[in-house]
Each structure stands twice: as structure tokens, then as C-alpha cells.
Amino acid sequence: MLEVKNLHARIGEKEILKGIDLVINDGETHAIMGPNGSGKSTLSAVLVGNPLYEVTEGEAYFNGKNLLEMKPEDRAHEGLFLSFQYPVEIPGVSMTNFMKAAINEKRKYQGLEPMNAAEFLKLQREKRKIVELDSKLANRSVNEGFSGGEKKRNEIFQMAMLEPKLSILDETDSGLDVDAMRIVADGVNKLQTPETSCIVITHYDRLLEMIRPQFVHVLYKGRIVKTGGPELAKEIQEHGYDWIKEEIGEE
């Protein structure tokens, strides 16, 4: 699915990723944890091609294709999806028009005809149920005036609509109450197949108890310094990151 080798990236003059190595196979779920400012969001931004970040070294392959050479929209067409930590409000663009544009551009990329209106509405109705999203939101502008929980559920709704191969959830649990987190996690689990993979970036093991990754990585100062199973998330929850910092020879 994804193969990242020695990835370095910076924003402006500041180097943030200092050599990331990561392999994700089909059907796997990986969690990435780490203290604030360690580069978790940067890693996700670089993978989806945010132009604010510059890759200075390293490689990333997505199903055999060189990810770093692709435009952000083509990475999306290939099946890469990012659930944003801070979903952007787009006043004046309705959710429906936005999703229709996204779906039809993907279909165009795949050489398919645009989806007709009836099909689209049906699909939208089905997928909305997965995250229990109010149908009224469809006529509103993208994320505008959505509550924090609605925004995050809306991200998972878009994921359901676009059926990506690899989804990156960037702190999708932050700002969610317990029930909303359950809905989001259930949504993600329902969308999981043996052919799809998922990267979950989070600070808390609560979401990981629901989504159940096979691997947990700890990102610190731009490198993955520790990798383990689900038990690693528990240890971090109880003891923080200091013991890991000590392990790698830092104060």
C-alpha cells in the first residue's frame, strides 16, 4: 500500500521530518502517536501533498506509484484520503456540490461517466447514515457553522463517499465527546476492508481501543523512534513519553 523511505521535509527553513521510514500493507491499521510538535501532522500533510511543505529528501510510493511526483488531486484519485485535523470552512459552496465535484472528478480520472443525480443522492443518503450525519447539513456550505463534532463526522462521511484505499485520520478524535467518538470509530470500522488501510494519528488510546490498530508508532523530533503493538498505546497513556525519550538517550 504505502512505502515511505528516509523522508525529510521542511516548512520554510525549519526541518520537521528528519528521516521517516514506514511500510503499510493492505488491510493494516497503524497508529501514530507522539508529543506535540513531533511532526505527526506534517507527515500526513506531506503524504497528501500540501504545498506548504517541501520534501527535501527521501521517497514515498503508493501502490507502486511515486507519490511525491503527483499533484494532490491525483493522490486523492489514486485513493489517498486525509481526515483533516481542522476541516476547512468553505462559505458559499454547498456540501452537495462539493461532494459531487469530488466524486465526478475521481470518476473522470478513472475514465468513468459522471454519476447521475439520482445515483448521487442515493449514495449520499446511504453514506450519511454511517456517521449519523443530519441530512440538513447537505444543503449547507462545506463545514460552515458545523459544530466540532459535525465537522469530524463530516470528514468520515466524505471518506465513506470517496472510498479511499488509504485513509489518514489526523486527530479525528480531538474535540469529540464520547458518543461522537464512538460514531466516528464505528464509521471507520465499517469502511475497513482487507484491501484498505488506515493511519490513525492520535494522542489518546481511547480511539485506538475502538479502532484497534495492529501497529503503534511513536514519532519524536521528526523520526519514528519506537514501534510496537496496541499495548504501546496503553503504556504511553499511563506513563507519558518520558520513558521513551530516556530509552533513546534523551533527558
Binding site: V48, G49, N50, P51, K71, P72, E73, R75, A76, H77, F81, L82, F84, P87, V88, E89, I90, P91, G92, V93, N97, F98, A101, A102, E105, K106, Y109, S141, Q158, L162
Partner: protein, 451 residues
């Protein structure tokens, strides 16, 4: 530059000719207009309300003026389809400056309503003509008044409501059909007089088009009297071509408790200058003035507004939005004048602009001038680019950069379009604006001549 000289000479030489082809009501104020024009000359860029558009330059070329009223035979129904069809409107045409007389059924107009030529209703016209559009204050209005020979007259009697919108297509056409020789570029002076008596209601839509590929210079003066408790919707849509120069002066007077919606939409043009002077003469009146501009290449659009609150308890709202691409320039200068004693005035003026390239230029100047101490007035202006975060968010969902820009620009302009009261026009404009951004709107898309 002395651009005015050629018009002064023209008038001195052709005064008799102009008058002989024009109604007495228009001739009555002609000499005075000429004196005012000669005294003022064209405004330089040092004149405050003309600082963003060089009038001297616009009027410098040698245009032909059809003073002899030579017929340019054209069947507008045959040669022209407006981009705003099927509005269930009553449709009228003005060819260059002349009201187009035809016997096509116009749908039922309520008793006493007049839509016709200024020529045919002289008594009524004489009572109102050139009162709001003072020739002493504006050289372009003076020039128009001095040269104009025909025009559109609209009258709605007391407490009469015109349900169907009145659509007027202004067609600029220099070449007769099947013409043997090339004719010169054309200057046209258009005139409109609208009178709404007490309690009257009217919706009007003007669509400006060019029907052939010549250089045009069109001056236009619209005077609108809106009586007590009357309601006027006045929409002006310009869809001309890059060789067109439009200088429009609109004057509106509002009596007590009247309502005005004024929308100016520039979809395609060459150089456009729209001036609006709106005065509240009676208490409790309200106006909504909206404008949107989509310009690219070398296009230039200048909207200049003055809203005068003479009396208390009136409300004015202005929202103008521009999207400027390539090397286009835009200007918005709006002034709200709250006169002494105009207490409880409420006024909001907003101008927001997107510049899509580094070469595009926007000049914006919102102004408030307040001589009363119990009013609520606000003004604001922004110039900026599309939101990068929103663009990236859309791209991450697979929407291409071009499409994402288009969606955002559309959304930006739609805020203005959504305020349109005329629903079919609103839907049509959503469609036209999108086509315009996609570059699919030809210079005059509805015109069969150009296909």
C-alpha cells in the same frame, strides 16, 4: 487632450438637425445642457468622482453619431436571443438609442402603464425630464442630454402593480443587415425615464448587448422617480464585448416608505463606468444596491455610487463584489452622505474583491460623510486572493485546482446573485456566472450574428 472639442463643434454645426429629429421635451433643455457641457468639459482624473476612469481618453476617438436617425433595419426577434430568456417577462428592445416599435403581443400590462418612446408621451415627459439628472453637475450627463434624440419612457400609475417583469434589451448595432459597405464606429446616447407613482410596483431588467463587431461608445442616463410607498427593482446586466465603452449615469429619487433594489452585473465588457446617485427624499425609505463584476484580460469596470440620506429613518445597503483576472482593473468608490438632521439613518456599505493575478488591480474607496449624530453607519472593503487552505482541502478531495478555484470564485460572486429578487433571473445568472468563469461565455453568447 481636448476631447470635448469635437462634440462642441458637432453641436454647433448640427444643432438644427439634432432638434429636427427629436421631440420638443428633449429639445427644451438641450441648449442649457450644451452650455453646461462646454463650461465643464470632460472631467479629468482630478475630479473626485472620475479619478479611476479617464473620460478624456474614452471620448477622444472619432465615433459616428446617427443624428439623421437613419434606420438600421433589424428585426431583433430574428437576430437576437438574449442570454436571459424564458423569464416570462414582457420583452422590449432598444436598438442603439431608439425604442423599437413593434406589434408583437407584450402580455397584458395593467391599465395606465406605459412602456414606450419618450417621443410619444411628451407632456408627461416634460414634467420630469432632466430634473434628477442635472446637467450642471456632470459633463457626461450634459453631453447625453445635449445629443439624445429618443429614449425609453416607463410610467406606472398610482397603486398599480406590474406583475410581469419588464425586460429591455439594449442592442448596439452599427451595421445594417446585408450592408454593402463598412460603417464607422458608433456613439450612442441612451435615455430612460421611469416614473412610479404612489404605491406603484415595477421590476425592470436591462440587458446590454452588442450585435456586431464594431467599436461602440454608449452613454446612458436613467432617471427614476420612485413615489411614496412605491417599489422598484432595477437590474442592469452588461454582456457586451471588449470593444465596447459604456458610461452609465443612474439617478434615483425615493419618496417616503419606498423601496428600491438596484443590481448592476458586469459579465463581459470593454470599459465600463457605472455611476449611481440615489437620494432619499422621504422618510422610511429603503434601498439595496448590489453589484458584481467578473473581469479579465484588459477589461475595466468602475462603479461609483453616492447615496444621500436627506431625511431621517432611511436604510441603505450596498454590496459590490469583483473578481479580477489577468490584467483587468476594477474600481469601486462609494459615498454615503448623511445630511444634517437625517437621524436614525442605517447604512451599510461593503466592497469585497478577489484579484486572481499579480497584474490585476483593484481600487476601492468606501466613504461615509455624516452630519447627523444618531445614526448607524458602517463601511468596509477587502481585497484578497482565494483561500489557500480551502483550495488545498478541495484538492485533497480530488477536485482539480482549476475546478476548486472556479467553485470558490462562483461562491464569492453568488453572494451577490443570491440577493436578486427576480428568481428566474437569479437561476439564470448562477448559470451564466459559472459559464463566464469557465470561459465558455462568448463575447455575445446570445447573438446569432457572431456564430
Amino acid at each position: 487632450m481636448q476631447s470635448e472639442q469635437q462634440y462642441i463643434e458637432l453641436y454647433e454645426q448640427a444643432r438644427e438637425l439634432i432638434c429636427s429629429h427629436a421631440p420638443e421635451a428633449l429639445n427644451a433643455v438641450r441648449d442649457e445642457a450644451f452650455d453646461d457641457f462646454r463650461r465643464q468639459g470632460f472631467p479629468s482624473k482630478k475630479v473626485e468622482r472620475y479619478k479611476y476612469t479617464d473620460m478624456q481618453k474614452l471620448f477622444a476617438p472619432d465615433y459616428g453619431v446617427n443624428l439623421n436617425r437613419l434606420q438600421i433595419p433589424v428585426d431583433p426577434y430574428e437576430t437576437f436571443r438574449c442570454d436571459v430568456p424564458n423569464l416570462s417577462t414582457s420583452l422590449y428592445f432598444v436598438i442603439n438609442d431608439a425604442f423599437f416599435q413593434d406589434d408583437k403581443p407584450k402580455g397584458h400590462l395593467p391599465e395606465g402603464v406605459i412602456i414606450g418612446s419618450l417621443r410619444d408621451y411628451q407632456e408627461r415627459v416634460a414634467n420630469y425630464y432632466a430634473r434628477l439628472a442635472k446637467t450642471s453637475d456632470d459633463a457626461v450627463t450634459a453631453l447625453n442630454t445635449m445629443l439624445v434624440q429618443d429614449g425609453l419612457f416607463v410610467y406606472v400609475p398610482k397603486n398599480t402593480k406590474v406583475d410581469r417583469a419588464i425586460q429591455v434589451i439594449n442592442i448596439l448595432k452599427a451595421t445594417p443587415q446585408n450592408a454593402q459597405r463598412q460603417v464607422s464606429d458608433l456613439m450612442v446616447n441612451r435615455r430612460v425615464l421611469i416614473i412610479l407613482e404612489e404605491g406603484a410596483e415595477l421590476k425592470m431588467l436591462f440587458c446590454d448587448h452588442t450585435a456586431d463587431d464594431r467599436n461602440f461608445l454608449a452613454t446612458q442616463v436613467i432617471e427614476a422617480y420612485v413615489g411614496e410607498n412605491a417599489s422598484l427593482d432595477l437590474y442592469c446586466l452588461e454582456e457586451t464585448h471588449y470593444k465596447n465603452v459604456r458610461v452609465s449615469n443612474v439617478y434615483i429619487d425615493q419618496q417616503a416608505n419606498s423601496r428600491v433594489n438596484h443590481n448592476v452585473i458586469t459579465l463581459h465588457n470593454g470599459i465600463t463606468r457605472n455611476k449611481l446617485d440615489l437620494t432619499f427624499s422621504g422618510e422610511g425609505a429603503e434601498c439595496q444596491c448590489y453589484g458584481c463584476v467578473i473581469a479579465d484580460k484588459q477589461q475595466h469596470v468602475d462603479n461609483n455610487t453616492l447615496i444621500t440620506h436627506k431625511v431621517p429613518h432611511c436604510t441603505s445597503n450596498e454590496l459590490y463584489k469583483y473578481v479580477l483576472d489577468d490584467q483587468s482593473t476594477g474600481a469601486f468608490a462609494g459615498r454615503v452622505l448623511v445630511e444634517h438632521g437625517a437621524q436614525k439613518t442605517s447604512s451599510q456599505m461593503t466592497n469585497q474583491n478577489l484579484t486572481a493575478t499579480k497584474e490585476a488591480r483593484m481600487y476601492t474607496q468606501p466613504m461615509l460623510e455624516i452630519y447627523a449624530d444618531d445614526v448607524k453607519c458602517a463601511h468596509g472593503s477587502t481585497v484578497g486572493q482565494l483561500n489557500d487552505a480551502a483550495l488545498f482541502y478541495m484538492r485533497q478531495r480530488g477536485i482539480s485546482l482549476e475546478e476548486a478555484k472556479l467553485l470558490l470564485q462562483n461562491a464569492f460572486i453568488n453572494e451577490v446573485i443570491d440577493h436578486m429578487q427576480l428568481e428566474p433571473l437569479r437561476d439564470r445568472l448562477h448559470y451564466l456566472v459559472e459559464k463566464r468563469f469557465r470561459g465558455e461565455l462568448n463575447k455575445c453568447a446570445g447573438c446569432r450574428l457572431c456564430k
